[in-house]
């Protein structure tokens, strides 16, 4: 039984996550007008979301059980790369996801 599905763990996790939503979106709405974001900090903050998403996606796709997993058998990896190329070309989330899931399913069934 994973801790994930114990109600206390989940509820405390969600409450904290809700606070991050309110804390970031509400930050400058709630702070006094005198509190400003220094331009330098703002510049750095712009890069954090892209880096954070990468820090989640890269290990998820490129590793398995804590080890590098770049092989022909890593269906996830090839499906994601294909979908990313499709997205770069089309800029359409729907086409991208359809392409990625189709590629993944074909790889899963026929390799």
């Amino acid at each position: 039984m994973n801790t994930f599905n114990s109600w206390p763990y989940a509820l405390i996790a969600f409450a904290g996550l809700a606070l991050t939503t309110i804390g970031t979106r509400g930050s400058f709405f709630m702070l006094p007008a005198s509190v400003r974001l220094p331009p330098r900090v703002e510049k750095a903050l712009r890069f954090a979301p892209a880096c954070a998403l990468t820090a989640i996606v890269a290990p998820d796709v490129l590793t398995r059980d804590g080890h590098l997993h770049i092989t022909w058998h890593n269906n996830e990896l090839w499906a994601v790369l294909f979908a990313a190329a499709v997205f770069a070309k089309t800029r359409s989330m729907l086409i991208m996801m359809a392409a990625g899931m189709t590629a993944f399913t074909l790889l899963r069934l026929y390799t």
């Binding site: 996550l17 930050s27 989640i56 998820d60 996830e76 899931m101």
Partner: protein, 257 residues
């Protein structure tokens, strides 16, 4: 036009600012076509939550309480392995940091409201609503009018309800699909669609590459510390790259003929 022709809707609710009816409708309409993308994104998030291991009941609680799609998707793999909660929260905060920038950029439009009204407005100030609002009023000389609040809430209402309805549909769908279909990959794909437009310039791309390499290299660190460390390094590299190389696009755009 000195006097606004459209009536201001006076709501007795203390949570909502005064709004102009026409502007509210314009906000509803403006959210129309982005609404399709929001719906798709909501369904994916809903499916991913269930496929990632959450029960249907917990996924429902999560969508209504957390209300931040990319952060929800980002923390799912952490929650699934029972990662320490502070790591989960820090990761979500990092993904959500863009909202702080939105918040700083649009605060002047909401500064005259009561704190309750500001709190609710900020909670609803997501990616699409912010973009639409700033595109329309970013250059306005007057800040904080019933017209602006009306437009904001028109968009926010569509965004909220489309998102939640789609998430619920996704959660119920996810409960039906067999796990062998690998639908959790949809979550990764969705995050990639958010990531790519953020990394079209040299500094961000440098940060993303460094973060990616380090995140993979540090995957074995306890408490998922690798995530935080690789993000700090990636942001530092991006800032440095911007200072040294300038904010250049990855590919030079072709000049329109």
């Amino acid at each position: 036009m000195l006097q606004s022709s459209s009536p201001t809707v006076r709501v007795r609710h203390t949570m909502l600012p005064p709004m102009e009816r026409d502007a509210f409708r314009a906000g509803l309409r403006a959210m129309g076509s982005p609404g399709i993308a929001i719906a798709a994104w909501g369904v994916v998030t809903g499916v991913a939550m269930v496929e990632g291991g959450l029960s249907v009941a917990k996924a429902l609680v999560m969508t209504f309480v957390v209300f931040a799609g990319s952060a929800q998707l980002a923390v799912l793999p952490l929650l699934a392995t029972g990662a320490p909660l502070p790591v989960v929260w820090v990761t979500a905060t990092l993904v959500n940091l863009r909202f702080m920038i939105f918040s700083a950029a649009s605060r002047r439009f909401f500064a005259s409201l009561t704190w309750k009204q500001r709190l609710l407005s900020s909670y609803l100030n997501g990616d699409v609503g912010f973009a639409l609002f700033m595109r329309r009023y970013g250059g306005a000389t007057e800040h904080g009018t019933p017209e602006q609040w009306g437009f904001f809430y028109g968009g926010a209402v569509v965004n909220y309800f489309v998102w939640q309805a789609a998430s619920v549909a996704g959660i119920l769908l996810g409960g039906l699909a067999p796990t062998s279909w690998g639908l959790e990959l949809a979550a990764v794909l969705a995050l990639v669609t958010v990531l790519i437009p953020m990394a079209t310039r040299v500094p961000a791309m440098a940060g993303v590459i460094v973060t990616g390499v380090l995140a993979v290299a540090t995957v074995g660190l306890p408490m998922k510390l690798g995530i935080v460390l690789s993000v700090i390094a990636g942001v530092a590299v991006a800032v440095l790259a911007e200072a040294k190389l300038g904010d250049r696009p990855l590919r030079r755009l072709r000049t329109p003929s």
